[in-house]
Amino acid sequence: MAVLGIPILEDLYPSTMDMWPLEAKEFNRSWQFYENLKAGRLTTTKCKSCGHVAYPPRVICPECYSEDLEYTDLPTKGKVIVFSEEVKGVPLGFDSPLIHAVVDLGVDPARRVLTRIVNCAAGTLKQGDEVQLAVFPVPALPIDKGKQGTIMSERVFFAFEPVKK
């Protein structure tokens, strides 16, 4: 399909206009975060030298600069501290209502994680509500592999959703 006004971009993928992270191993050393998401796990990196847990994941420990890191699980349930709802004028790529919440996952460094809340009707969320991790597919990343052609690298992303009572 041609891009309006730019016919030369027919069937080409411009990563500069991709709203999702370049999650594939070829482009991101934090690829394991996204692989863990596919398994329903919310993870981040922990330093094996000094024990510091950083969010979001790193390739060096921000405290001691060690490269010896491992992935550790964060809780997948938390409580809404405060939230906002945008009903009109939601930007391209998002559905109305666009709900944002600061969520307390109960452990450092995830006491105040800002996330989107999905699967939630406008006007129904309340402060203190319990929410859980929601992983959803996003469009696959087309990677040009030269002679092998273009491969499609599967991608997911996450938000949180109300826990059904």
């Binding site: 500069t16 206009m17 709203m19 999702w20 992270p21 969010y55 979001p56 501290i81 405060v82 939230f83 906002s84 709802e85 945008e86 009903v87 009109k88 004028g89 939601v90 930007p91 391209l92 790529g93 998002f94 666009l98 944002h100 600061v102 460094p109 995830a110 105040r112 994680v113 800002l114 996330t115 989107r116 992303f157 938000a159």
Partner: protein, 394 residues
């Protein structure tokens, strides 16, 4: 002898929805700047620092400094570069220019900032704004456009300090009324409290006049030494006495305060800037703070020390931010009404403080001798403060 940096001249083009290319806006701003001190000519300028964040995305142009230099007839021989700190870009350019002229690495530097944000398709600027915050961790949640983030901030200020919607509306009214007679402002209309209170909802509790508009525009100013400035002007000199730029986080999950209405990084930046400027909060006679949202100004007057923490709403509602109040704030109309082309804002603010300290502002604060500018940028991730004065610090 110490070289003390001064702001010699400043100007901006008409801000708003502009039928113009980004290089047109910079040319208009450069002219407005040099028109401010007619003795100064393009050939006198040996340095250029450009502040723009969205030229790369919205105008398909990186390495902007040589492009802007050429279009503006400048041939810098000491420095020609660009900085990108989004909303603080213009202030950053001034800080860098001060350092360069005081170090003797440049003599007369133009700090010029601007953005062209309205593109032929309306969706694109909103989509591109996902890059304004940490893209993969906040932008990807639809946090690029800031109203949701500052709606959360306003809610937490209301929860912890009892701030009311009327307090926010008082900021909008003050700043719109300052801009009503400003010919280069995007919004040139007087606003009543009733209009502000009854405005359409954006993201609760924020309504239309609580949010700054999206703006095309540019501004430019000249930073040089006091000795050089004396050759070009008889006006009182305005010194850049002290500056600070504080960044403690980028991803919102690592916000440094106890909650979104507790701006620890602003306090640190203020303490550093006041210390370097050898002033205290009570010395500030006029301020241009980063009113990207009405709630921002409420929190800024607290964290900058103009009132106690939690009393910003009352401070604004009781007209302490207006002429005759304790610290008049955003006397040209601020981001809310003049607009906010990111890289240009700090230069607009510095220019207004220069005019206030020279006694030639549109809404003049009597006997203003010390003034301040403040920016926040990203998802409230960085704070930038400059203190200006009628006398040098050293």
């Amino acid at each position: 002898m110490a070289r003390n940096a001064v702001i010699l001249a400043g100007g901006q083009c008409k801000w708003g929805v502009r039928e113009a290319h980004i290089v047109d806006l910079f040319q208009e701003a450069a002219k407005a700047c040099l028109d401010d001190v007619p003795n100064l000519k393009p050939k006198d300028i040996d340095g250029l620092i450009v502040a723009t964040s969205y030229a790369g995305r919205c105008s398909f142009q990186v390495n902007t400094a040589p492009v802007i230099a050429e279009r503006c007839g400048l041939k810098p021989t000491s420095i020609c570069t660009r900085c990108d700190t989004l909303c603080a870009g213009g202030s950053t350019a001034i800080i860098l220019a001060k350092g360069l002229v005081e170090a003797g690495a440049a003599d007369i530097v133009m700090a010029a900032g601007g953005e062209k944000l309205y593109t032929p398709q309306k969706w694109e600027v909103f989509y591109s704004e996902l890059a304004s915050v940490d893209h993969d961790w906040d932008g990807v949640h639809g946090m690029g456009l800031p109203p949701p983030f500052f709606a959360l901030t306003a809610q937490e200020h209301m929860m912890h300090y009892g701030t009311k919607k009327e307090d926010l509306a008082a900021v909008s009214v003050a700043n719109y009324n300052y801009a009503a007679t400003n010919p280069v402002a995007q919004m040139q209309k007087a606003l009543t409290l009733e209009e502000a209170m009854g405005a359409p909802i954006v993201v609760p509790p924020l309504t239309l006049y609580d949010c700054c508009p999206i703006t095309d525009g540019a501004a430019a100013c000249i930073i040089t030494t006091e000795e050089i400035a004396r050759k070009f002007t008889d006006r009182p000199l305005v010194y850049i006495r002290g500056t600070a730029q504080t960044c403690l986080n980028s991803v919102s999950a690592n916000f440094p305060g106890a909650h979104l209405a507790d701006w620890k990084h602003t306090r640190i930046a203020a303490e550093k800037a006041y210390g370097r400027a050898k002033v205290s909060a009570s010395d500030i006679k006029v301020a241009q703070t980063h009113d990207c949202f009405s709630i921002s100004e409420v929190i800024e007057v607290e964290e900058l020390g103009f009132c106690k923490k939690g009393e910003g709403g009352e401070f604004c509602r009781s007209k302490q931010i207006e002429i005759g109040g304790k610290v008049p704030v955003n006397t040209d109309g601020g981001l809310l009404a003049v607009g906010h082309p990111f890289g240009a804002t700090g230069i607009r603010q510095g220019t207004e403080i220069m005019k206030q300290l020279q006694g030639r502002a549109r809404h003049q604060v009597k006997d203003a001798d010390i003034g301040l500018t403040h920016n926040l940028s990203g998802a409230n991730a960085e704070h930038t403060i400059l203190v200006y004065g009628r006398t040098p610090v050293k």
